[in-house]
Each structure stands twice: as C-alpha cells, then as structure tokens.
C-alpha cells in the first residue's frame, strides 16, 4: 500500500467532481485528499487526488478514471519527482504571554501569522504534508481552536 498523488485533467462541467469522487467511492478506492481548481487551459480543471493502494489498485484507478468521458488526462505524479504542497490555516490559542514562543515556531516553519485576535492567532503554513503535520504537532500544546487544510496540490518537476 503506497501513497500516490494523481493529477486528473477534466472538463470543467457541472457534476464532474461528483463523477470522479463517486467513482472512487463505489469502487472502494481511497481518497486521502482532493483538490480542484482551474488549469492552464480555459474550460479544463485539474484535480489532484492523494490515494493509497497497491499497484493493481493504482492501475485500476487510472483505467477507471479514463472511462469517464469528462476525464482528459490522468498522471500518477508519484512516478517521477514532484512538487506537492498544501496550505493550512491554524487558529491557535495565543495569550500574549505565549505569543513570542508561537512566533518562534511560525518563523522556523516559514509560516506566517495572518490574523491576531484577543486570545488567538491564525497561522498560515504552506508546505508538503509532513511539514504541515509537524507544525500542527508543535502548536498543539497551545491549544488549536480550529484547523483547516486544503489538501495537496502537486505537479511534476522540470519540463515534463
């Protein structure tokens, strides 16, 4: 069972997310995260799905996706070097006394503070999923009030 990051170019049609997500659901494929947005080409969107499965499952995921008429191209990004990033907004409990410590963590992770309230701060972190996991772990002792992660978006490195 390996983790794979799959990039899917789709027609930007109503219901296309439902078609793709439904396919994963009914065939028992796992979705760890899913992101969707516009692509470089007007009318086409790009979905990035992080999934786990053995080789046979990953092969089936690709083949079954291609059966959807609205799917144009499927690439398993994990097959070659890739850049994978997600963004997290972390609302952390931050009494004035604790703020310098929290800012230390933020700086170390090259994250940023995007909002400060009376007793909270919103930290914005960007990175691969391991990095996001790590900053969340470090902020936990202060008390995380709310956490929102975008899921991974990704592309292959270089000209390919």
């Amino acid at each position: 069972m390996e983790r794979h990051t799959i990039s899917i170019l789709v027609n930007n049609q109503p219901g296309v997310l439902q078609r793709v997500a439904g396919l994963f659901g009914r065939r028992g494929f796992n979705i760890e995260s899913i992101t969707v947005g516009e692509s470089e080409e007007p009318g086409l969107s790009r979905m990035v799905i992080v999934t786990t499965g053995d080789d046979k499952t990953i092969e089936q995921i690709g083949k079954q996706l291609y059966k959807l008429i609205d799917v144009i191209k499927v690439v398993d990004l994990s097959e070659s070097p890739m850049v994978a990033r997600e963004l997290a907004l972390i609302k952390v409990h931050a009494e004035p006394a604790h703020r310098p410590e929290i800012l230390g963590v933020v700086e170390t992770f090259r994250a940023s503070v995007v909002d400060i309230g009376a007793s909270t701060m919103i930290v914005q972190a960007v990175g691969d999923s391991d990095k996001i996991d790590a900053i969340i772990e470090l902020l936990k002792p202060y008390g995380i009030r709310e956490l929102s992660r975008t899921g991974v978006t990704a592309m292959t490195r270089g000209t390919r």
């Binding site: 009914r26 092969e59 089936q60 291609y66 059966k67 008429i69 609205d70």
Partner: protein, 580 residues
C-alpha cells in the same frame, strides 16, 4: 403485422426533410435529431415533464413510438431492440418516478454493455433543486450505471448532445447514456442546426491493438499444448462471429462461450464445449482448469464464470482481448493484455494464426469429456421436465428463433439446451440478472425483427414482474410467443436453499400466482396450458402457428435443479453433477 410507420421514408429522404436549419422548440429538435440518428422505434411513457416532447410527437410519423404499461417495460424493450439489432435503443420517460422506474433497466444495460439513449424529462430549470413535484436528480442517481449523462441546459445544445450520446453509446464498450431535459428546455425555441461531427477530447476508444501483444499471443498459440478460447459478449458487440469461426477453424482451439457470448459461435461445432462457469458444462470447466493457454476474447472474467478466482485456470497463461482496458487485469492477472476491438484483433490474428499441432491429445481429451459427460437430466413420462420443454422449443423453432429469457433456473436451462447458432438471437440479462427483463425485451426484439419468430421464456416469478406488457403485445399485435416455465416456486432460490441452506425453504412459494391462461386472455392474448409432453407439444405448436401473441404455460416439476453446479467459493472443477 406492421411495425414500420406507414410514412416511414428512406433515410436519405428523412435527412433531407429534417436537416434544414430552422427556429423550433427543444422538443422538435429532439425528434429531428433522433430521426437524423436513424432511429426507427422508441419506447416510452408520457408524463408531466415530457408533455412538450409528446406534444411534438402528436401526428409525428417518422419513427414509431411504442407506449408500454410501465417505464421498466419500456427500457427493457429498448434494450431487447438494441441487443437484437446492434443499434441504439431509445426510451423516453418523464421526471421523478418515470425516471426512477428506468433505473433497473439502465443498470441492466450498463452491466451487459448495451447501447441505449435514455431520455428523461425533468422539472423546469428554475425548479431544479427545490424538491418540486416529481423532481428527482436522475443524473445523480444514474451516474454509477451510465456510460455518460447530460443535463440539458439550453435547447440549442440538444442536436450536439444527441449526436454525442449516440456516438458514446454505440462505440467503444457500448453502454447507456442518459439525457435529462428540463421541461422549459423542451419548450424553449432556438435555432436548430444538425450536428454531424463529434468532438470529445476525453473519449477515444482503442480499436487497433498493439502489434507486439498480437505477436506475443501468436507465439503463445504456437507453443500451446492445451489451449482454450473463452469467448464473450464482445464477439457479438463487435460483429466478429465470422472472424471468430475462422480463428477457431484455423487454430483448432476448443472454445467455450459465456452466457452473453452464446450465438457468437455455432453451438453445433465440434470444437464448441458449451458454456463455462457456475452452471457450465463439465467439459468447458474441466478444459479451463486444465488449459495451459486461456484466450479470453471479449469476456470480462465475471465471477459466475471464474468462480473462485484463486484457482481459476491455475496452469494457464492468460491472454485477454477487450475493448475496455479497465477489464484487463481487473479480476484475473493477465499475461498477454490486448486492448482493441475484437473484430479488428481477430482479423490481425487470422492473418498469421496456424493450427495448434501440439494440441491433438488435448482435443482428443476434450472430445472424450464431451462424449462421456454431456449435459443430462432425468426425463419423466409423468411429469413435464423444464429441460425437455426447452429442447422441444428448440426443435420446433429449428434453432432459428430469437429467444429471450428471464433470470433463474429456466434461463440456465435455455442457455444449456437451446443451441444458438447465430449472433443476436439470444437475449438475456447476464450481468445484473434482472428478473422481469425477459418478456419486455422480447417486445423490443420483435419490433426490430417483425418477420422472425421471437420466443420469450420466463419463470412464473419473473413473468409477474412485467406481465402488464401483454397489453402492448395485444394492442399492437406484436406476435411474441411467451413460454412460462411454471414450477410454482422461485426455483433458483429453492435450489440454493436446498443445497446450501440445508433445505430451509424460506419464502419461495409462489402459490397465489394467477391462472396464466386467463391472465393472457384478460389482455386479449391467446393462452394455453400444458401439463404433459403431448399437451406441451400441441399447445406450443398452436402458439407458433397463431398469427399474434400467445402465452403457453408449461406446468413443470417443482424440484428440478440446474446441474452442473459450482457453488460459491469453489473452483470450476469442483462441480456438483447432479443425480441424473
């Protein structure tokens, strides 16, 4: 009988008549687009959301519309029409319950890769999402069971959508396409421009196979000592029966055809071993298990064929030819994958394939199995045996009828005892196993082939799931010959309960079923009943001679089982052979 509309003109005349750009309603665009696709017959049922469409059909005579008595009957009839012809079947139903009544039929067609275009009405665009009267999200409901679907957003899209839908339904791996048309779109006026080109970037079925894989298969054939061909519905879908016959005659490889592959290869041929799988022949199952090369031609390694996958064809190198790449390796690990159209693949193979000279001993073994372990049943002079009835129907129709069957024991007996020789003469729900499919699908087959004998063989259970369509046969004089194999019980369930559930017969007694002769006559259809061989032959021959629809009820033995039988969790060579 006449099923062709009186005013039906030649295709070219119709194209000329209906191709003119013109400002018309969405409903009129729909009808014209259907005609331009060559549609001759649609099956449907009107209702609120399709009133504009039916209004446009008032007096419209360029295709035939068959009004069924239930939407499920309509879609099964459209499915039977498609299976009998290879053309796209068309069905129309209204929104909400009309649309949801199609769901079983859509799933049936999807599982057996049948080309259908399913047109549903929906509530007006402004009402979508408000839980309006008779609203159902049929596009969402049917996403898992359609090849593709459309919610039409403006009338001017209709010609393009119809063109795309027919293209998608009838190419690659065939399947049903649903088009949902909101009521106000069907009323909206717009400029109608016929569409002939299809531009679908995400849809390019592979037709021509990879040459290297073909060479690999040819090499494997040359080396094989115990080769077997497993041919399925793909042979019939691609029209490859002649190429298949040539391939088998050249290579002399023994062949088994799946339930949906029956008729794709002549049953009388000495190399034909019958059907494989759960109720397959001894020879076919033994041959698969003993094979050193198994060539799957357009079948999908369904679990009723493979039974326990670990242990299926344990000694064989597996070659799999399929137009759908996702089928290859899905259920059975494959050594030689060949993606392509079966006909094209066989044409290429036939150029270089040679007789399998090393397989003479194997052929002798298979001939011996066929001789020693044929299909058999214990006949009786006091009781009517269902297998005997099927053999009698085969004999009296000279094996030349189009036969539809429902689902259950009788279906397996037809598959075993009716020897099909031609493609598209056998219609049954294989993948989904839809009870209620057998009879209405025969109506569609008869509409497609007014001059052929169409026989529909049903159990007493399944017949009651769509019996209302007898009205359609009566009113249109559609001369389907309906055989009801009445054992007064849900036979296949009874068989499983006997063998697997320690004879705990739970809710299988169909006592209270109607008198089928009277039921037929209530609809104005001739009815006959037979309880012994003499009556059976006489009643059946009368029904065949009758100029119109007829129902013959065969009252058969209640305790007959389908053998051989491989139970779930067993491998193919672990067959229960029965006590005959």
């Amino acid at each position: 009988m006449s099923t062709q509309p009186a005013a039906l003109r030649s295709k070219n005349e119709l194209i000329e008549k209906w191709s003119k750009p013109e400002v018309i309603t969405g409903s009129e665009m729909l009808l014209r687009s259907l005609v331009l696709e060559g549609v001759e017959c649609v099956f449907g049922y009107p209702g609120g959301a399709v009133l504009y469409i039916y209004d446009a059909m008032y007096g419209f005579s360029d295709f035939h519309h068959v009004l069924t008595r239930h939407e499920q009957g309509a879609i099964h009839a459209a499915d039977g029409y498609a299976r009998a012809t290879g053309k796209v079947g068309v069905v129309i139903a209204t929104s909400g319950p009309g649309a949801t009544n199609l769901v079983t039929g859509i799933a049936t067609a999807y599982m057996d890769s049948v080309p259908l275009v399913v047109i549903t009405g929906n509530v007006p665009r402004s009402a979508i999402g408000t839980d309006a009267f008779q609203e159902a999200d049929i596009v969402g409901i049917t996403m898992p069971i359609t090849k593709h679907s459309y919610l039409v957003r403006k009338a001017e899209d209709i010609p393009r959508i119809i063109r795309e839908a027919f293209h998608i339904a009838s190419t690659g791996r065939r399947g049903p396409v649903l088009i949902d048309i909101p009521k106000d779109v069907s009323a909206e006026k717009g400029l109608f421009k016929p569409v002939t080109e299809v531009n679908l970037r995400g849809y390019n079925p592979t037709i021509v196979p990879n040459k290297l894989q073909i060479e690999k298969l040819l090499k494997a054939i040359a080396e094989a000592k115990r080769p077997v061909v497993l041919a399925g519905g793909g042979v019939i879908a691609s029209g490859a029966h002649e190429e298949l016959l040539r391939f088998i005659e050249t290579t002399q490889i023994p062949i088994t055809t799946t339930l949906l592959g029956l008729g794709g290869f002549p049953s009388g041929h000495e190399l034909w071993m019958g059907m494989p799988g759960m109720h397959g022949t001894y020879t076919a199952n033994k041959a698969i298990q003993g094979a050193d090369l198994l060539i799957n031609i357009g079948a999908r390694f369904d679990d009723r064929v493979t039974m326990k996958v670990q242990g299926f064809a344990p000694n064989a190198k597996i070659a799999h030819i399929d137009i759908d790449p996702a089928e290859i390796g899905k259920n059975v690990p494959t050594d030689i994958p060949i993606v392509g159209d079966v006909k094209k693949v066989l044409e290429l193979l036939n150029r270089e394939a040679k007789r399998t000279d090393q397989a003479d001993e194997w052929r002798a073994q298979i001939a011996a199995w066929k001789r020693e372990m044929p299909l058999r049943y214990e006949d009786s002079d006091t009781e009517l045996k269902p297998q005997w009835v099927i053999e009698m129907i085969y004999e009296t129709t000279k094996g030349d009828a189009i036969v539809t069957a429902d689902v259950g024991q009788h279906q397996m007996w037809v598959a075993q005892y009716y020897k099909f020789n031609k493609p598209r003469s056998w219609i049954t729900s294989g993948g989904l196993g839809t009870m209620g499919f057998g009879f209405p699908s025969a109506i569609g087959a008869q509409m497609a082939h007014p001059d052929r004998t169409v026989v529909s063989i049903n159990g007493d259970g399944g017949m009651q799931m769509c019996a209302q369509e007898l009205a359609v046969c009566a009113i249109n004089n559609i001369p389907v010959k309906v055989a009801i194999i009445n054992n007064q019980v849900l036979g296949m369930v009874r068989q499983w309960q006997e063998i697997i559930y320690d004879e705990r017969y739970s809710h299988i007694d169909l006592a209270g079923s109607p008198d089928f002769v009277k039921l037929a006559e209530a609809y104005g259809v001739r009815g006959f009943r037979a309880t012994n061989k003499a009556e059976a032959r006489e009643a059946w021959e009368k029904a065949l001679r009758h100029d119109g629809p007829a129902v013959v009820e065969f009252v058969v033995s209640k305790y007959e089982n389908v053998y051989p039988m491989v139970t779930q969790g067993s491998t193919l060579d672990d067959m229960i052979l029965g006590d005959a």
